[in-house]
């Protein structure tokens, strides 16, 4: 059966709660702040929310169920998306079908996480069963070490060099300097990138994100609902997800996007050339480079050449991760999987302020999440268009 389209689904009220490196506040606190801001910007009250989708690593022992009572919400549709960096797009996908079907009228999609001293170590050691059994006991380098292995294999296979990854990181820092909520506030040069202290070779300091606390969110509804309430919005043109793609690959050189990208462009009625700005999931620059390839902006293995021949800054010919991405804005746990989507909605609704890409009409957002053992398992992508 041909997949049904996403006609009439819109996204409004993009919200980013400013990140903090370490905070004593809980995930419940961060999520509540994001919800409150979303409702305020859409002139809604909590009773207007009849759908809720939550992504968080640090709600334990609660689940989104407990959150409804904690926050006094009575949704008739509730979802939990434990997919890390793929969460934002996948929450949107699920919510889109709920509002299309009338299971809900207004869904709040929200992601937020706490970050206390030592909470990152605790998260790493209990991230997944395979990680506990087969990756954490090997140096406990966490995702830095796991993705360093992927980067090492990628560089050996395709000849990519640190300066290619540096172009991604340096451009994002330039973008972050124009984003008021970014954790990183000072410029970054390619020389600084290349001479950074090693973290897990080939990665240096500026290949890695800064774990922090924060929250992100947006509202999903039908277009007529948004029109009736006088909200500005972006439209959902198409979206895909895939899990555990290419399990036979000895080491991850491609993500699940490569399986589904043609369908994404097909249902969205456009191609790579029509994309005005791209928000990739940048837990590491090499992963963004893989997304350039797997999302069809260049051929496999051509990522290094692609970044060398394009300007990835806000005013460049290929605006990428316009709010600085996680590399420069910070990684607030599961909210990192929302960062690009929320920024894309701001871009398409003219709310991006200092990071606004002129004439942005079509944006692509991709997500990537959950390194269960040796590779990221979840991939997702969406194409959004500016709307009313």
């Amino acid at each position: 059966m041909k997949r049904k389209d996403y006609q009439g689904v819109v996204i409004a009220a993009p919200v980013s709660v400013p990140y903090v490196r370490y905070s004593q506040e809980t995930a419940q606190w961060w999520i509540a702040r994001a919800l409150k801001d979303m409702l305020k910007s859409a002139s809604l009250t909590p009773v207007d929310l009849d759908g809720l989708s939550v992504s968080s690593f640090t709600l334990f022992p609660d689940t989104p169920v407990g959150l409804t009572q904690h926050l006094g919400l009575s949704p008739r549709w509730l979802d939990s998306i434990p997919m890390g960096g793929a969460s934002g797009v996948i929450a949107l996908r699920r919510a889109a079908r709920a509002v299309q079907a009338g299971d809900a009228d207004i869904v709040a999609c929200v992601a937020g996480d706490a970050n206390r001293i030592d909470s990152f170590r605790q998260l790493l050691s209990s991230f997944s069963r395979f990680a506990m059994d087969a990756s954490y006991p090997y140096g406990s380098g966490g995702p830095n070490a796991s993705f360093a292995l992927i980067a090492d294999a990628y560089m050996a296979e395709y000849g990519a060099k640190p300066e290619h990854f540096g172009r991604i990181a340096v451009a994002q820092r330039a973008n972050a300097l124009r984003y008021k909520n970014a954790i990183m506030k000072s410029p970054l040069s390619l020389e600084q990138y290349l001479s950074a202290r090693p973290i897990s070779e080939p990665f240096g300091l500026y290949d890695c994100v800064m774990p922090c606390a924060g929250a992100e969110g947006f509202l999903v509804m039908r277009e007529e609902e948004a029109e009736a309430r006088g909200l500005t919005f972006a439209r959902l043109a198409g979206t895909i997800e895939r899990h555990n793609a290419f399990p036979q690959d000895p080491v991850q050189m491609r993500g699940g996007w490569a399986m589904d990208i043609d369908e994404l462009y097909g249902m969205s009625g456009c191609g790579p050339g029509d994309i005005d700005l791209l928000q990739t999931y940048d837990d590491y620059p090499v992963i963004s480079m893989m997304q350039f390839e797997d999302l069809g902006f260049c051929d496999k293995g051509e990522g290094a050449h692609f970044v060398s021949s394009h300007d990835l800054t806000i005013d460049g010919d290929f605006p990428h991760n316009t709010s600085g991405g996680q590399l420069s804005a910070g990684q607030a746990g599961a909210a990192g999987g929302y960062l690009g989507l929320v920024e894309a909605v701001r871009q398409l609704t003219g709310l991006a302020g200092g990071t606004q890409v002129k004439g942005a009409k079509t944006a692509m957002v991709s997500g990537f999440g959950m390194i269960n053992y040796d590779r990221g398992l979840c991939s997702s992508a969406a194409i959004l268009r500016s709307g009313g």
Binding site: S140, G141, A145, I150, P198
Partner: protein, 415 residues
């Protein structure tokens, strides 16, 4: 090539001794299969009983056909390193004090990709031999070793932490009157032990090899009677702080069942074989546990020599078998009590030894030389359980297959 490990410098008593930390210890039940294989020096992975697919990481259902019958089988060790990294930042205290730490991805010829520790002599592109070793937490971990032996490869710091190599270590052999004492001491010195303390009970009784042992370089004969608490404490007070490996050779064997006229022999066997082990552990254990991170000559292992009839009694040696079962049980508790320090307990199970107390038994019997060799090999490879000799290996296999069938055969009931 690995750098040759230099002898340790003399210890500076003014420096604080490093407190032992452990690598991550938590594992799922399935992953403990790796530990069980590593403890015996085997390289085993789960194989699907239905489609044969080899699985890694350990799991509960086949990733090819969803069959839940996964069997641990010996698996080919050949692999190639397809990626490597050197970790410079780790939040885990154990790794943090050993940075940088190298890991890699190994593609096994058997199928799966394995994240593993890298021996210093291997890197991306290399053909390697995989091994499962017990780490300081006592858990089985994957390590990629050179395809062919490289010079001094056992001196690699990572590999050394995964073994209890006698090289540069000071070792107590608890009873020099044991038939195995002299060949064992010679084998330990040949393996690079820096000093051997040889315990001597009842010094007034001259054992035949006593003078030959005392004449060896780097060997000190010390008074030690494992049936005497005070004697054990005295020696522990004197050398406990510089004993890196204890090998308990004290043992008392008398033939006969349990329906004899009294319990004199049995009492003697328990005093030496079971309670003697406890006294040694109480005397030497705590100091050794505090010294497991003490550099090149850190405390590494506590070794018991047990009859394989610790697992299932030999009625011809009834009371002796019981004392061995007791000693085996004590060794298991010691493993638990030593766990937080990383001090390893190695049990060497042997069949009938070729000595006066097993004289009427038919061959095969284990010679003192073979036993000595097995102990040193076990320490070098870092295993927890060694089965020495054909009888012990055969019995282990039958015990694994069905303890009840073995019991019936040993107690008379087989064909």
């Amino acid at each position: 090539m690995s750098e040759k490990l230099p002898p340790p410098a003399k210890k500076n008593p003014q420096l604080r001794q490093r407190v032992p930390t452990l690598p991550p210890v938590a594992r799922s039940r399935a992953a403990l299969g790796l530990t069980a294989a590593a403890a015996r020096g085997r390289f085993m992975l789960q194989h699907c009983a239905e489609c044969g697919a080899v699985q890694y990481p350990p799991r509960d259902a086949c990733a090819s056909c969803l069959c839940v019958a996964l069997e641990w089988r010996d698996t080919g060790r050949k692999a190639r390193i397809i990626a490597e990294t050197r970790i410079h930042v780790s939040p885990d205290p154990y790794f943090r004090e050993r940075l940088p730490w190298r890991t890699g991805l190994a593609r096994l010829e058997a199928g799966p990709t394995v994240l593993c520790h890298l021996h210093g002599d291997v890197g991306r592109g290399d053909a390697v031999m995989m091994d499962l070793k017990l780490d300081k937490a006592g858990q089985g971990v994957m390590i990629a070793l050179p395809e062919t032996r490289s010079a001094d490869m056992e001196d690699d710091p990572l590999l050394r932490a995964l073994t209890a190599d006698p090289k540069h270590r000071r070792i107590l052999v608890t009873d020099l009157r044991s038939a195995i004492a002299k060949p064992l001491i010679e084998a330990l010195l040949a393996a690079g032990a820096s000093h051997v303390f040889a315990g001597e009970p009842e010094a007034w009784r001259r054992g035949s090899e006593r003078d030959a042992i005392a004449a060896l370089d780097q060997v000190s004969v010390m008074p030690l009677d494992v049936t005497d608490q005070a004697s054990v404490s005295r020696l522990a007070g004197e050398i406990g702080g510089k004993t890196d490996i204890v090998i308990n050779t004290a043992r008392h064997v008398r033939p006969g069942g349990v329906l004899g006229s009294d319990t004199v022999f049995a009492r003697e066997e328990f005093e030496i074989n079971a309670l003697g082990l406890m006294r040694l552990a109480q005397g030497f254990g705590p100091a050794m546990c505090s010294r497991t991170a003490d550099g090149t000559n850190s405390a590494a292992a506590f070794v018991n020599i047990l009859s394989v009839h610790a697992l299932s009694a030999d009625p011809g040696y009834g009371a002796f078998s019981a004392s061995q079962a007791a000693a085996y049980s004590i060794s298991q508790t010691l493993r638990s009590e030593f766990r937080s320090s990383g001090l390893r307990v190695m049990n060497v199970f042997t069949g009938p030894t070729d000595d006066e107390w097993h004289q009427p038994l038919p061959p095969p019997k284990v010679t003192a030389g073979a036993l000595a060799k097995a102990i040193v090999a076990g320490l070098k490879s870092g295993v927890e359980d060694v089965f020495c000799g054909d009888v012990a290996k055969d019995l282990e296999e039958r015990w694994r297959r069905d303890p009840k069938v073995l019991e019936r055969e040993l107690t008379g009931g087989g064909a």
